[in-house]
Subunit: 519 residues, 2 copies
């Protein structure tokens, strides 16, 4: 039922009447964009290939700047006013602006142009020499030439290169969608701004300063983030939030030197055991966090969010099979519901030695790395307070550095805490006018209903946008989920780029109209 | 109070009358042995040095055999009938026998002549080039020449070499004690056998076969083990038992590939968390094992054992200081009492990554290495049953190999168990005639009361002696506790060797008489 609803064109869409004479009905516009693309596949891929060929490791200043100036040229060639935005010490962000006569809404299209570092030795081909393959490598794809002018290419082909998905294709999609609208004589319905960040994969360290310094330029009625992949079913998707995060390195201490477990076991405190008890005290096997007050700040799930979750195609069973899991936590509770809740994950556990090197010793320390995934309205600061209060309640003396001998001789149980930087979660209300307008426009653009997620599971430090610009943030991804982003052999499935053109073209042409209706 | 009692000569000892004319009173005998030693320090150390110079890594067949033939020569030079005992595939054990006219008791003096493997790069001097130093290295000891004939040497000097303490010095002490008795014209009071094992440090793999094959030769009224160190206060010590042990490698499984903790955390089971809960379910922070029925088999502590514990000089405070511990488990309960109880130690803990390499992942597996220290009358087999029943009760499906995909898809929680070989504990009753006779004889020999321990904390696979020979096993150590045995810079404090001569000489001369009285 759900799948049927999801994959069938929505009948009412066919009867929509354009509000302005110059905006064709959705299916006509979709066909116009498709016609343009089919006639220009070679040229579009050429532009993408040229951009992918510029190395974009965020740490590589010179090449990062080459990417940025290349992007400025790409914008300017479309008559978009472009410039580099910088603050002290930052790589440049690329900014472009295109006003539309009569438009009352301004939308920023966001993507980042930097990429994760690469380990070339693990790639099947060079990360910065884009390769076209007949299919995914894991499906036996083999290299084929890029199409020549006028030639078309199988849409299941994939381009392999760093940032093929994350995020250079979305950038090309934005600009080609604009080309397609112009070729069809269709005017945008919104003022458009473009913001291409240059250090997202390096932790966006200058983002806050950048947003603050250029607040006037970057103000808009909504930001659309074209980062990340669509749903695992390949269904188009809009999502409205990300989880926050804060990470903790936790080390507990035992004797100052390893002790023979025969001579001193059952007497000297064992840090592995203390650590195990602490972890067990913080969460149960169903993922419920057993720290006092931990759920007090959690924003309740809204009816709109529940409705969206219920309408999402179920993929849990498939994921369990893929991951070799007989069952998941909390009695196979749905993944999407679980992502709406705070999570405590123990990413690492280390103390003494296991396996062939193991010894009958009481070790000197044991460590865990724990990541806390936050939901609105938790804050990293409050989570840290609650966790520390919990540890103190377990009889732990907290320190920030390796304890000195005086501290050790004074406190029976000592833990060293080292918190990583963190940031809060963000969820744009799904029933806000901007949210409803974007969903409606994307559905019209693609002629089908889409997956709407209140939040993705991942964390992203986009709260700066919220805090400084106070603008609704909405995620409109286009790339395939099986793109190996961040890893070796990152790739883009061409059909996702083609669909992205129709999606973005539709947003440019119609969002202003739908938004007016949604207000 | 306790210390005063311990370190003062026992007044009654001075009035003991020798039973046989040829056995001088204890203080006279002690002085005779001392005189002999003081006149022969150079020669004694020369004999020890020559033995230590033969490499004795248990894996080094050729040198192990060189040690054995050297020992046979040392025995035969004293007129002791000696031979090598072997079974298929075993290194030789060295056996010697010396009968005493009129003696009714036969005692085996045990030591092992093989040593732990060495990492020469960590030694201050070559492990098999014995060095004499003015004091312990950690006290700034510097090298001095071995004494020339007739010269004496500071008894706080130490000899550095592999097996200087563990166990080549005890072997030399046995033979030199006999020399000293003969020089004084004192006859032994017992029949004596000597058994020097050649693969103790390699796990005594052929010991059971050896004892079985040579049962008739090795039968005796008691075995005296001169392995291991005296008490940490340097007080002489006799102990009556060892703990048993069985080790477990435990691995729990998560998804078949690492999953992003943002996208799948709180949904996919986390093996680190499962492992932490399992450990926490098995024992509390006070060392109490919370596995059903775990204490059912535990032999109660006897009044004699309690009395011995109470009479032992307290060292817990000093150990806490040495090890940088503000407190120990179970509210600072005494170490010696803790060693009378079963113990569960987590020697190693490993899952995912901590520290600089940590990542926000749900790992595929997590492992612990656990050693279970056993007391009488626990058996490794029963402990394994109880632990496995406990894990099953926690909802764990147990496997012996890495689970295949069918197993993973069927059972939500899977643990792979790999048990090491194990053996039971052993405690000779402290009130047995042999036990009382040995304690009394050692006290008379040294002219002071001694530490008596119902058990040491360590584990030793000596249950074979008990099971096959059905003989009381008593530990009569002589070497210093701070000898670095098994580690680099193993050493012997000379005063311990000198005291050992008086102790062993006393045992040889008087044990038969005291035993007769104790029966």
């Amino acid at each position: 039922m759900r799948l049927a609803r999801l994959f069938c064109p929505l009948i009412p869409l066919l009867t929509v009447t354009p509000v302005f004479a110059q905006v064709p009905d959705p299916s006509t516009l979709r066909q116009q964009i498709r016609n343009y693309r089919e006639a220009n596949e070679s040229q579009i891929l050429q532009e993408l290939e040229a951009l992918l060929a510029i190395p974009n490791n965020a740490a590589d200043d010179i090449n990062i700047r080459r990417n940025a100036t290349h992007l400025v040229a790409m914008l300017e060639s479309r008559g978009i006013e472009a410039q580099l935005l910088e603050v002290e010490g930052s790589p440049p962000a690329v900014y472009g602006e295109l006003r539309t006569n009569g438009a009352t809404r301004t939308v920023v299209f966001y993507a980042h142009y930097d990429g994760q570092p690469v380990d070339s030795s693990r790639w099947a081909s060079s990360p910065w020499v884009p390769i076209l393959r007949t299919a995914a490598l894991f499906d036996g794809g083999t290299e084929i030439p890029f199409p020549r002018a006028g030639e078309r290419v199988d849409p299941e082909s994939r381009i392999y290169a760093r940032s093929a998905s994350d995020d250079k294709s979305p950038i090309v999609a934005m600009l080609v969608a604009l080309d397609a609208l112009r070729a069809a004589g269709v005017a945008p319905s919104i003022n458009m701004k473009f913001f291409f960040e240059g250090e997202e994969e390096a932790g966006s360290r200058h983002l806050r300063a950048m947003l603050t310094a250029h607040r006037d330029l970057l103000t808009a009625d909504a930001w659309l983030f074209m980062d990340g992949p669509v749903h695992q079913t390949r269904a188009p998707m809009v999502d409205f939030g990300v989880r926050g995060i804060t990470g903790l390195d936790l080390t507990v201490f035992g004797p100052t030197r390893p002790l023979h477990s025969g001579h001193y076991g059952n007497w000297a405190p064992n840090p592995n055991v203390v650590l195990a008890h602490l972890i067990a005290s913080m969460r149960d096997l169903d993922g419920h966090i057993t720290i006092d007050g931990y759920y007090d700040d959690v924003r309740p799930v809204t009816p709109a969010e529940y409705a969206a979750l219920a309408a999402t195609p179920p993929i849990d069973g498939q994921l369990r099979t893929d991951f070799g899991l007989a069952a998941t936590e909390a009695g196979n509770a749905p993944l999407l519901e679980r992502l709406m809740l705070p999570a405590l994950n123990v990413g690492g556990l280390q103390g003494g030695l296991t396996g062939p090197g193991s010894a009958n010793l009481i070790g000197t320390e044991a460590s865990a790395y724990i990541d806390f995934r936050l939901v609105p309205d938790q804050t990293p600061e409050r989570v840290r307070e609650l966790v520390e209060a919990h540890l103190v309640k377990q009889g732990i003396h907290l320190v920030r550095e390796v304890p000195d001998s005086q501290t050790r001789s004074r406190y029976p149980r000592i833990a060293r805490l080292s918190w990583g930087s963190g940031y809060p979660a963000l969820r744009t209300p799904m029933d806000a006018p901007a949210s409803r307008a974007v969903v409606r426009t994307v559905e019209l653009a693609l002629g089908r209903s889409i997956v709407q997620l209140p939040t993705s599971g991942g964390s992203l430090g986009i709260y700066h946008f919220d805090e400084i610009l106070k603008t609704p943030l909405i995620f409109v991804p286009i790339v395939n989920h099986d793109n190996n982003q961040h890893g070796q052999d990152e790739n883009l499935r061409l059909q996702n780029l083609w669909d992205g053109l129709e999606l973005i073209g539709g947003l440019m042409a119609r969002l202003g109209l739908e938004w007016r209706d949604a207000t």
